[in-house]
């Protein structure tokens, strides 16, 4: 019978008692002498023993219901002896998860990093887009309207141009169920953007640069494409989920690292916005074609943008509408192949009115 010297705690007081434990087949027998040299015995049934704790050489074994009895053994060979005597005992089974150290820990760390990177780049974006795509149109319109009302609060609306542009847009079939609503805002910026749900904001700066009805039709088709493809919602969903993902994982981090990672996240989104722009271009070309309008309108629009791009003030435009020359080349190639188009007298008439108002404003 194997015997080991242990410290025994009875669970009622903190007194350490030097005891001897004997590993008999079905029980652990613990024996100690009190201060009056009286011998006491405790018999532990193996299946009521709690999971063993091993800290280097120290073995801690507990027994029974509250208050637990405890033995601590620092003798070498204790755990080997336990395994030998009680090969199938539950209290000796230690979860491998609690034993990760050294190289194993490094391997787990690398696997984790690889998994997270994979999830961030390959799993998260489609999931975020999927969710954005499932949001009902009604909700999207509501969200867009509340974003819109917050935006126009700080801007000066041009009511005449707004009216005319909406009239212009009604003459074009954008092939979408979204309620397209255009607002012209006074600003020197050469820009326009689409909000989720159908609101399109056009700065009068870009109207002053536009030369033909087809260019304006191209601009509106492009922005409507963003609406129809739910691009803003998808972008918001992607960048939000990316941000939440990162901050969830690294929630213990300090501000410095968070800023670093936040910027990386928006860089990742920037490249995404390029694919969105090309998608919107393709759809804009289709819209022009469907309405028998010249696709050179889009080419003309890009010419305006590339001229403006050089100016630092308008770099903002570049960040959402990047690589104008590539996009222009694509539009040109498409326009060259377009056969059936004509000039639309209704659109031209409205366009003339717009031009008059624009010139007056100057």
């Amino acid at each position: 019978m194997k015997q080991f010297s242990v410290l025994y705690y009875d669970g009622n007081t903190s007194l350490s008692r030097r005891a001897v434990v004997t590993l008999s087949p079905a029980t652990l027998e613990i024996e100690w002498q009190d201060e009056n040299s009286l011998t006491h015995r405790q018999s532990w049934e193996v299946d009521k023993i709690h999971k063993i704790e091993i800290i280097e050489n120290l073995h801690i074994v507990r027994y029974g219901d509250f208050p637990l009895q405890t033995i601590e053994c620092s003798e070498k060979g204790f755990s080997e002896a336990l395994k030998q005597v009680y090969p199938n005992a539950v209290f000796l089974r230690i979860s491998p998860l609690t034993q990760v150290s050294g190289l194993k820990a490094v391997a787990v760390a690398l696997a984790l990093v690889a998994f997270l990177i994979g999830a961030y780049f390959f799993v998260l974006p489609p999931v975020a887009e999927f969710i954005a795509g499932r949001i009902p149109q009604k909700m999207e319109v509501e969200l867009g309207n509340s974003l819109y009302s917050r935006f126009v609060e700080d801007e000066v609306k041009d009511d005449k141009l707004t009216l005319l542009l909406n009239k212009f847009a009604r003459e074009i079939d954008f092939n979408t169920t979204y309620p397209i609503k255009i607002t012209v805002v006074k600003s020197a910026e050469v820009n326009a953007f689409a909000l989720p749900g159908g609101n399109i904001v056009v700065y009068d700066g870009i109207l002053k640069k536009i030369n033909t009805a087809e260019e304006l039709a191209a601009l509106l088709s492009h922005e409507t494409a963003h609406v129809a493809y739910k691009h803003s919602l998808k972008s918001i969903s992607r960048s939000l989920s990316g941000y939440v993902f990162i901050s969830l994982i690294l929630n213990d981090l300090n501000g410095f690292t968070t800023v670093l990672i936040d910027n990386a996240n928006s860089l990742n989104n920037l490249s995404y916005s390029r694919t969105l722009e090309s998608d919107a271009d393709i759809r804009a070309l289709e819209t022009l074609k469907k309405n028998h309008l010249s696709q050179y309108g889009l080419v003309g629009l890009f010419e305006i943008l590339s001229k403006e791009g050089g100016d630092n003030e308008y770099l903002k435009f570049l960040s959402t509408h990047p690589l104008t020359s590539e996009r222009m080349a694509y539009a040109k190639a498409q326009a060259l192949r377009q056969k059936h188009f004509s000039s639309n007298s209704k659109l031209n008439a409205i366009w003339k009115e717009i031009q008059v108002v624009c010139k007056k404003a100057n």
Binding site: G11, E53, L97, V100
Partner: protein
Amino acid sequence: MENLESPVKQITFLGTGGKLFGIYITNLFLTVLTLGLYYPWAKASVLKYIYQETELEGSRFTFHGTGKEMFMGFIKAVGIVVVVYALFMAALYSQNAFITFLGVLLYFAALAVVVPVAIHGSLKYRMSRTSWRGIHFGYRGELKSLIGVFIKGFLFTVLSLGIYGPWFTISLRRYLIGNIRFGNVEFEYIGDGTDLFLLTIKGYFLTMITAGIYSFWFAKDLINYYVDNIRLKQDGREIQLQSYLTGGEYFRLAFINSLIIVFTFGLGAPWATVRTLKILYSNIFIEGELDLDNLIQTEKAYKDATGEDVADMLDIGII
């Protein structure tokens, strides 16, 4: 083993960053894979390790809590937090001023109750699951009284624009610590609101005129004030805790820890934790005739871990 002859005792932390890292990284991996559901088990494994590497008079502390217990608490905590937030958000988006007002009111009312519920549950659970040489800690406070202390302090703090804050903190500590038992040892907190208020004013003032440099000495003062006012009572004897942490030491601790965390992108956090525990414990001395051989078990079995997780979600650090 006559403890009365050596009146000064210390708690030592023997853990290593490497071992804690192994636990931490496994936890992180499983938490991510399970979309966060592993969190309670992760927390249990960290607490288990930290407790078992904490030593007093040659014996280790033990954390008896399990992931399963904490998971049940976690589910309840998620439920509570989700319901409160959902009602709050619904009220905010109702576009109706009255409903929004009600929502905000409900939110603060819930906060005023959820926080003490979380503190109470968490402390009660944590203490009941902590033992040393088989003797369990325990928290004997009552939820009703704690809610009373909390709401009174919260209202006074708001009404006084924060000035009452230090008195609030002290009243909470007095109630919470005063209800902790370690076997037949009773805890007591003897800090004073006015002292803490003066300490805070001095801290703010000096931090401002030294462009933040004093903040480390301020933090050191707060830690020492917290520890130095804890008393233990055993069989009529009073035992005192003293922390001798210096501002320089605290500065070095905070500075090196932030370097570790920043340059490892957070992966070095376990080393920072180990450093913190080692330095804090090494400065704390238990002075007085604490007879660690004659602690008597006074707790009963206790089951419920909800507070532990609500506290985590609200980011409340307790004790």
